[in-house]
Symmetry: C2
């Protein structure tokens, strides 16, 4: 009944402890046939390495790095808070977390930061950044150095990142579209769409998914072209105000990007506030208050706590060459309304 140990493996394989150790830790100097015999024994008696004992013996300290932009969007702050919270309890799993911030929209600064990292003092990197050629190169270098890398929130599919921690943004856009369609109902109307930037992969994908659903299931609703805000709050306020003045047919607003402060500010005291259906992404202080005040109807979000914990789990696993449990690492697309706000 008791869990088998390395000594049991040694006995079962008819070799010494030292040989089992060499096999387990992939050290050289063991004949292929012996390796097989040991592995067979491991299989047969169901040995599983005691990771905690191993880490204790190894005096393992995982040194992880999060790379984030200093974008003015509140979502990034939320993410940063989640990292801070994970850090406070990370001591328990021998994980040390550093955060590197790079100026928003400055790929050179980002690349410079990434260049400072190396395999000696970092066991894993989680990156939230747009995919540019420079970033691709920097990631390739880190990978060739043997540093595990995960993309955070926005995927980097054309790089060698080991894993993507975040939601399927097309599906997130589809979800927002479905809700918009259902909420607007038979009457229909037009929908204004605000995106941060058409450079940001997640924004583009959400818009794509939104349009898909609208075309498939809600033909009575007209979706207007995207308005790019570039996270500029002043500009956004002007654009939204003007749009609302000129287009009485607008019945809904879909905020695709990571920040919705300006939009909420405009609408809070607007005369059309009551009749407007508002759907945004990411649960932050702003969207939370807007939901509570019945100003916003739904928020499509992702749990940043999960994202951070998942990123750390995946990086630790990759760093140890272990497999990950995919079902546990799937990040859900959450729908938050006034009533299930926490």
């Amino acid at each position: 009944m008791a869990r088998p140990t390395v000594n049991d493996v040694a006995r079962a394989a008819g070799v010494s402890l030292a040989t089992v150790d060499r096999v387990l830790n992939a050290r050289a100097g063991v004949r292929e046939k012996t390796v097989e015999r040991v592995n067979a024994a491991i299989e047969q008696i169901g040995y599983v390495r005691d990771v905690t004992a191993a880490n204790l013996a190894r005096q393992r300290l995982y040194q992880m790095v999060f790379v984030l932009p200093d974008a003015p969007a509140l979502f990034v702050d939320t993410l940063r808070d989640a990292i801070a919270e994970a850090t406070s309890s990370s001591l328990a799993d021998r994980t040390e977390v550093r955060i590197i911030t790079f100026p928003n929209g400055n790929p050179h600064a980002l690349v410079k930061s990434l260049r400072a990292l190396n395999a000696d003092d970092t066991d894993g990197v989680a990156i939230f950044a747009p995919e540019t050629p420079h970033v691709r190169d920097a990631i390739a270098r880190l990978k060739s150095d043997g540093v595990p890398i995960v993309a955070l929130v926005s995927d980097l599919p054309n790089t060698e990142r080991d894993h993507f921690v975040g939601i399927d943004n097309i599906a997130a856009g589809r979800t927002a579209g479905f809700l918009m369609g259902k909420f607007l109902g038979k009457t229909g109307g037009s929908v204004m769409v605000l995106v941060s930037s058409m450079q940001a992969r997640d924004n583009v994908e959400r818009r794509l998914g939104f349009d898909q659903v609208m075309a498939e299931s809600f033909r009575q609703i007209e979706v207007l072209p995207s308005i790019e805000t570039h996270d500029d709050e002043g500009a956004t306020e002007r654009l939204v105000t003007e749009m609302l003045r000129n287009r009485p047919d607008i019945a809904g607003i879909y905020s695709v990007g990571h920040g919705s402060r300006a939009l909420v500010d405009v609408l809070r005291d607007h005369e059309r506030r009551e009749s407007m259906t508002l759907i945004a992404h990411e649960l932050t202080k702003i969207t939370r208050e807007a939901l509570r005040d019945n100003l916003m109807d739904a928020v499509v979000s992702q749990d940043v706590g999960h994202i951070v914990r998942s990123a750390l789990r995946v990086l630790r696993a990759k760093s140890d060459g272990r497999d990950i449990v995919h079902s546990q690492e799937r990040i859900r697309i959450e729908i938050v309304v006034r009533e299930n706000l926490i």
Copy 2:
């Protein structure tokens, strides 16, 4: 920089390792003043016990028990699957899981099962059962034996359970009500409500929340009295079929309980299928398919995987007398629609 150990504490407090050990493990034979000195030193140098090393030394094996009904509702199977999945990886955190099943609606069998448990071979119990006087007594006995207990899915507030792992069911009902109101829109109509049993606390609370929101925000919708199904599929089919025949004003159906198979079966080929708004609880094989097939509009759910993992974490913490991180143990009320189905 390195994490302080017991030896550092001993040095800082000016006592021996043995005394620190006595203090840490609450063993007798240490003067009050010395205890204080050691605790001060712990505080000052920021010592945190290495739980993994401690468990290794202690050869700790957490023996946890889940107590579940054999209700025919699919949700219980889903929960059982989640426990099975958690069990497969529980080896890593020295946790052994047993499942005890009791016949649905038979409190005596349940109490008999609980009586068989004792502090010697169980370090924690997670219970999903209705709160009856017998159950209360059984729980009180276990608690007086020093066994940590958490209520699962449905709370047992009048018992001495240490914690409740599950959602706020009033809020869950409110969420369902909000969606129903939004989906039905200005036109309104009547809503049929199906509950498993008015004995089940979670069902009652959901119904309560649903009615609250309807009364507050959607006065144009008439909510009909609850229909009790007692998880009897044949009876449910008859009741629903009849109701739909007699009441052309019904525009929505809210399924409060843990099972929706019969409801889905009736509606799948029903002529009014298209015009009906359907909202149910718990993501199972049945509701999942119904969402996918556009038969159901939304499911208000709770992640059983989280519930199981959270229950185990809480029980381990209680068993060690450690505090729990409440933010991590909060179970979210999830809204699942066709587009964010995983």
